[in-house]
Amino acid sequence: QSVSLAYDTPPSYDVQPSYRWAKNFTDKLAEAGFEVETFANNSIGGEAERFDQMRSGLLNVDMGGYAFGIQLVPEMEVIRLPFVFDSMEHLSNYLKTSGFIDEMNEKMKGSGVHVLAIIPLTGFAGFFNNKKPIATLADFDGIRMRALDASQLKLIEAIGANGVVIPFSEVPAALQTGVADGYINPVNVPLTFGHGDLLKYYTDSGMFVSVRLAMASESWWDGLSDQDKAKVDAAVAYADNDLMTWTTGAVEVEKQKLRDAGFEVTELSPDARAEFVAATASVVDQLDIPNKDVYLQAIEAAKP
């Protein structure tokens, strides 16, 4: 058997969670006797192109954005709703025990995509800005946050900040010139992308975990024998476990890196967190997701 996989980040095993996952996954498959071919980030195209190649069966496995999954099955959104998970263990436990991915794959049949894994990036998303430390909801007053897309814009407005949608490549210019004062991103983003001098304050929001997807082409998956499917499942489980262990430590390492770079690191108090939960509740309520409450209850039940 053979497998081809396209990476979505530069090769940095100790910094990029999705690279780490994909490397472990392909290494395990190679051990199990698969012939592995990998494509470096962007070498066969950007996000949308790789996704389309995987769907049409030209590529076996693609590491891609979570939004692709939501486009095919809207229920997948529940993972990204604000304040549904208490901790990384909670998320991990839910993904492992609830059968969520299998259920999504059932709904996805015929779309050309078979989800292998949901890949959490480094910890919960953080609030970064260069105006003031964010300790309470009121601190967001007068702060303009860069939004990734329309749905993040709603979230930003719900917590009382102003929002402006800006493409990632123009973010440094926007931060410098005050078009935006900050953004919501995983803890390692500012230092990885050279925004260290442009931002000063970091707050671990506990709001949601940024996630990505490891997606297999449906035709490739369906063509595997049961024996080979078992080998793939074993490789997925191995890569999942490694990532979860690594992430927990990595968040603390990255927070220390931020302090060393002169950032002020703030943690939300339980009271402040409650404020944010209340403020974002309306966003959750307004979202039109089939069987939303059933999923939310299942997530609640998976608390470790």
Binding site: E49, A173, Q176, L198
Partner: protein
């Protein structure tokens, strides 16, 4: 392989446009490489390469230039340059360079600059006793300033390919562009002394009228550059503003009717379309290269050669200069930037500085023999024999290469403004 090259040569000789030669050869290469089924990804590649927010400023800047050429804004700037530099020895030569600088603040394309200035200035220089090869050569050489001083279509492409801030690139190009202009003026002064070229001053009585006429036209580069440098607008927004500025200011200079506007839009569509199709065809080739792991192998090979930092930049200079001599700029960028630039960035070169170096390389290549696009344009518009022009432009190109090396190895020249305005660390 030989068969493929033969087919490509046959199509080229048949006068088939580059995009179709590249596209058809790419399709046949997939078949030859036994990757036929992967052709299924090509339609998606085309959409992905064109449906790009950063690219949008390109057609908008082309449109602004079209409107300005048709409404007389360009001519007002020319008269101002005449007033400022016409009085010096070799005055018209200086005017030629200075007009390119003004023009550069509006137009993003070296070819547009070369075409309009050959039309306006070369006949006048000839009348004043300049050798026609010299007049044509300085016009071609100074058109290189166009894409270095913002706005710049080359930089927009580079920014889109590398995910680098286009605004940062624009700010960075300002000083190298002025340096280039100063060097060309110096060379013109030397030549004019040797050849005894005259000065030509504006009559006193006209001076106020010239300045008054040029002021509204100067407003456009001020708005574009100021807006981008101070972060008030993104490059796409600046391009849109410049279109509206050109429309409003253009009204002051004379009649500009609906037919003229339609023609400006139509030509913008044709030019953008030609560029899009080249991008699409090259994307098909790039995909095959990716499937065959060529970028990875090439990067490994180059790194294996033991180049690092500065010597790698020298290698890049040579590669892109040659590319600029033979290839269309969008083709050269699309083919080579994804292959070569990331390696330089991992070696510690700032992507903004790298962008300026590559942009300078490619545009100098456009004014260099044997196939520089600007030379072809200038030669066709002025009627100066192509190979005579090629000989005459050589001293100018040599001076530009010296400037290129200075800009390459003194990163401060490009980086001081971006650092000042916060576009780089």
């Amino acid at each position: 392989m030989i068969l493929l090259l033969a087919i490509a040569a046959l199509l080229l000789a048949g006068g088939v446009a580059l995009s179709y030669v590249i596209g058809a050869t790419a399709v046949l290469s997939f078949v030859a490489a036994d990757r036929t089924m992967f052709l299924a990804a090509i339609p998606q590649k085309i959409v992905a390469h064109i449906d790009n927010f950063t690219l949008m400023s390109m057609p908008l800047f082309i449109l602004a230039g079209e409107i300005m050429n048709r409404s007389g804004v360009t001519q007002a700037l020319l008269r101002l340059a005449m007033l400022m530099f016409g009085g010096l020895r070799g005055g018209l030569g200086h005017v030629n360079v200075a007009t390119s600088v003004f023009f550069a603040g509006i137009s993003g394309s070296a070819v547009a600059d070369a075409a309009s200035l050959s039309n306006m200035l070369v006949p006048q220089m000839r009348k004043e006793g300049y050798r026609d090869t010299y007049a044509a050569a300085i016009t071609a050489a100074s058109s290189v300033i166009g894409p270095i001083i913002p706005p710049s279509i080359v930089m927009i492409f580079y920014g889109a390919l590398m995910g680098t801030s286009v605004a940062g690139l624009f700010v960075a190009g300002f000083l190298p562009g002025l340096l280039l202009a100063a060097a060309l003026m110096l060379l013109n002064a030397v030549y004019s002394r040797r050849e005894g070229y005259a000065s030509q001053s504006t009559p006193m009585s006209d001076k106020r009228a010239v300045i008054r006429d040029a002021l509204p036209a100067l407003l456009i580069p001020v708005i574009i550059i100021g807006g981008i440098v101070f972060g008030i607008v993104t490059p796409t927004e600046a391009a849109t503003l410049s279109v509206f500025c050109a429309l409003i200011v253009g009204r002051l200079y004379g009649p500009f009717d609906r037919a003229g506007l339609f023609a400006a839009f139509r030509r913008t569509a044709v030019l953008s379309g030609s560029i899009f199709l080249i991008l699409s065809a090259v994307a098909a080739f790039g995909y095959l290269a990716g499937l065959q792991q060529l970028p990875t192998r090439m990067a490994e090979w180059l790194i294996g050669l033991g180049f690092d930092g500065w010597t790698y930049l020298l290698l890049l200079n040579v590669v892109f200069l040659i590319a600029g001599m033979f290839l269309e700029v969008p083709v050269a960028l699309a083919l080579l930037v994804p292959l070569l630039a990331p390696t330089a960035v991992t070696m510690g070169v700032d992507p903004v500085h790298l962008g300026i170096v590559i942009c300078l390389n490619l545009t100098i290549g456009m004014a260099s023999p044997p196939f520089g696009a600007c030379l072809i344009i200038v030669s066709t518009v002025t009627g100066v024999g192509y190979w005579r022009l090629c000989r005459a432009v050589i001293p100018f190109v040599l001076v530009e290469i010296v400037i290129l090396l200075i800009v390459t190895y003194v990163p401060g020249i490009s980086m001081v403004l971006p650092r000042l305005f916060g576009y780089a660390g």
